[in-house]
Symmetry: C2
Subunit: 492 residues, 2 copies
Amino acid sequence: MANKITTRDTDYSKWYNEIVVKADLAENSAVRGCMIIKPYGYAIWEKMQAELDRMFKETGHENAYFPLFVPKSLFEAEEKNAKGFAKECAVVTHYRLKNDENAPGKLMVDPDAKLEEELVVRPTSEAVIWNAYKNWIQSYRDLPILINQWANVVRWEMRTRLFLRTAEFLWQEGHTAHATKTEAIEETKLMNQVYTDFVQNHMAIPVIQGIKTESERFAGAEETYCIEALMQDGKALQAGTSHFLGQNFAKAFDVKYATAEGDLEYVWATSWGVSTRLIGALIMTHSDDNGLVLPPKLAPNQVVIVPIYKGEDQQKKVVEVAEQIKLELSNRNIRVKFDNRDNFKPGYKFNEHELKGVPLRIAIGPKDIESGTLEVARRDTLSKSTILREEVVDYVLDKLDQIQKNLYEKAKDFRDSHTTEVNDFESFKKIIEVKGGFISAHWDGTIETEDAIKKSTKATIRCIPLKGIKENGKCVYTGKPSTQRVLFAKAY
Amino acid sequence: MANKITTRDTDYSKWYNEIVVKADLAENSAVRGCMIIKPYGYAIWEKMQAELDRMFKETGHENAYFPLFVPKSLFEAEEKNAKGFAKECAVVTHYRLKNDENAPGKLMVDPDAKLEEELVVRPTSEAVIWNAYKNWIQSYRDLPILINQWANVVRWEMRTRLFLRTAEFLWQEGHTAHATKTEAIEETKLMNQVYTDFVQNHMAIPVIQGIKTESERFAGAEETYCIEALMQDGKALQAGTSHFLGQNFAKAFDVKYATAEGDLEYVWATSWGVSTRLIGALIMTHSDDNGLVLPPKLAPNQVVIVPIYKGEDQQKKVVEVAEQIKLELSNRNIRVKFDNRDNFKPGYKFNEHELKGVPLRIAIGPKDIESGTLEVARRDTLSKSTILREEVVDYVLDKLDQIQKNLYEKAKDFRDSHTTEVNDFESFKKIIEVKGGFISAHWDGTIETEDAIKKSTKATIRCIPLKGIKENGKCVYTGKPSTQRVLFAKAY
């Protein structure tokens, strides 16, 4: 394994791709724009799923599963939603292949097996789900419905990048139905908070909570709540969205409920999702020029033990101690791997585990056996310490905790130092170009201004921060009055 | 809720469908042949997934994720496999919809967005996975590869039934690569054993382990190991298969490895899977004319507590005790639900939980509070007992264990009493027609005989049992010599 990867300064985009591939997280497949998530990458996704699933259930949600296909007539029912996704749909038109008579051993689409109605491979499931909710909801007693789905979705993107933008991706999508507008908005905010807690506490990625402007809103939503993170190249990444859908889908699918008083009212809706894209955010937030850096809470292996020896005598002693330490750590629910492969040298293993982002590496050699010590290396700081063997469990537990916190703090420092208050458009252009990051600036609230700034700088409004300070100011582009700063950035 | 469902004797097929729908497990969707798995049904699938996933990992497998789509050229690479699935493929031909100019608000497939190569929605993933393995495998050091995938697959079945046969279903598919034939066969057998343990110990369904005849084998396999269960209507259901694929896929995708001696050899393959179809087997094995019956290990709620009271005074006392019992049971990791809805009467709740198959029901009324007792009803036997309140935890733990065992024993008794040794074809026809179940009979080993029996009786060879006794006999149809009885049945 050639450990050297392209540095961030040399080519950030190449650096990212090399980490994904060399750390064995994912690779491109034979299918245009679709990736293969390899076992090491999938193990991270499983850890993310487990925690998110726990948080969803704790907040009263249940899982269910809805069809992969959306009949075209359902897909087009909610016009804005359909319009937003129509341009990137995979469409099933036939249900059979047959032998190609002109090419022995080859198959061709059977023209006799054309579907009466085309099926769209779901880019999102509001349509198919609200068509079902119509039959599930009669009275206020049937509400709320709080359902989540873990699924694959397909959006036929033209430019794809592993994890960040792929034609097929894995995600969860929550779809809830409520009797009142207030309750639906509360749900939207609740899930925005759940995502915030997960991304900050588990992924160690600081985020800004906010709402989207009209032009960045989910197609079919009345309001989109989001969390925005900042990557090391100064570009923003949307890390999770929850949408207040108003009564748009209820009206499109005629979903009404009888109130306690017997009146018929349209149902209120939300939807919310995060995807494997988050793994892209994880990589770009923490990793360095030596490879992947993983926060302990999501690392498939939190600790790796590498034995160092020459000859069978040393090997036997070292392996015995290593096995013992592995057991002690496992017993405390620390995920530990003993890298006992005998066809690779310790130096090679060090490089590999560094590249793969294992938070802590323990090396044990004959001298350590004599002195009752161990060498422990931190992936985040690349620092090494010699510790007493009997202290290993407490030391590891403590350090894993420190690494988790340190990664968050480091990312937060970067984010804060790359968030700039700007009051004139010349500075805006210069900062976006030279420094990057978030620009906090006043905006007059119009789509026209947003578009003009985007055309001029490629920066978009990432969000109107929820915790923004109300202050009177002048739009950075038009000079018109504004009451709150918004966050601009170039974005993934 | 009308609790009365069609009885098995009246209409077995209708009975099955009513249980699926009325117990809120699944329903048909707007998409032909695709089902919606509702939260209660999905909760059972989650329990199955968790245990299977644990067993897969314990036997050294890792999860990964491969693309939903298979380009037609990859799909057709392994000819037998392609031939086996070509007739039931959903095919993506276009990647965009556009506004239909002749119908305002409607969308149509954009003829300019035709794919150069059609994509098959995976009916199974051997092709797309072996195309990837080609790049993963160079030397014997890269082997074995032991990967599993949790995914949705699509097979365009003409006649569909909830869980048993749906166009889209959820499953897991293991795909392993090995250096030797022996190792691949061992893996195939190992997974056959894992499935057996899971289905018998967790689902309480007794199975026969066996191998398939050539005509029932997976398309592309050299040998298919299976487990076969018997449903209450006397029809068999294939509950899980593991395939020894030989070098078929390695040859189709040119996957070779360098041996320790430096020679190049084709890689050996296996694949194995179980699907949401198992939920159909679960329902049909244990349920009765009152509704669903669930084995405790897979029941989303193992115990339900129903309070009985008149007036607020009684309510307060009863609820207090119920909450206390819920806590005591939860603390012992028993999944318990306190059904405290105040808009339904106890009788209605009893019926509902019976219909939904909750293994144990605890009723608490004012008299129980006075006497320090509780009434506990078992779903499997429909028997009731009055127990002392302080014994509730031990009693429940013991009874859940008994119910799990009783369901297995009951199903095994049914299976055994519906397995008939038959030595002449007249008896064969009569028993298949009148009694149903498995017929154990000698067979001459030819496809012709198998076909003739199928044509005459609709019974197929479910498997050649692994634990069958070697004995000389005469084929039940041709009278030709045979060395082992095989199992015939009509099948799902």
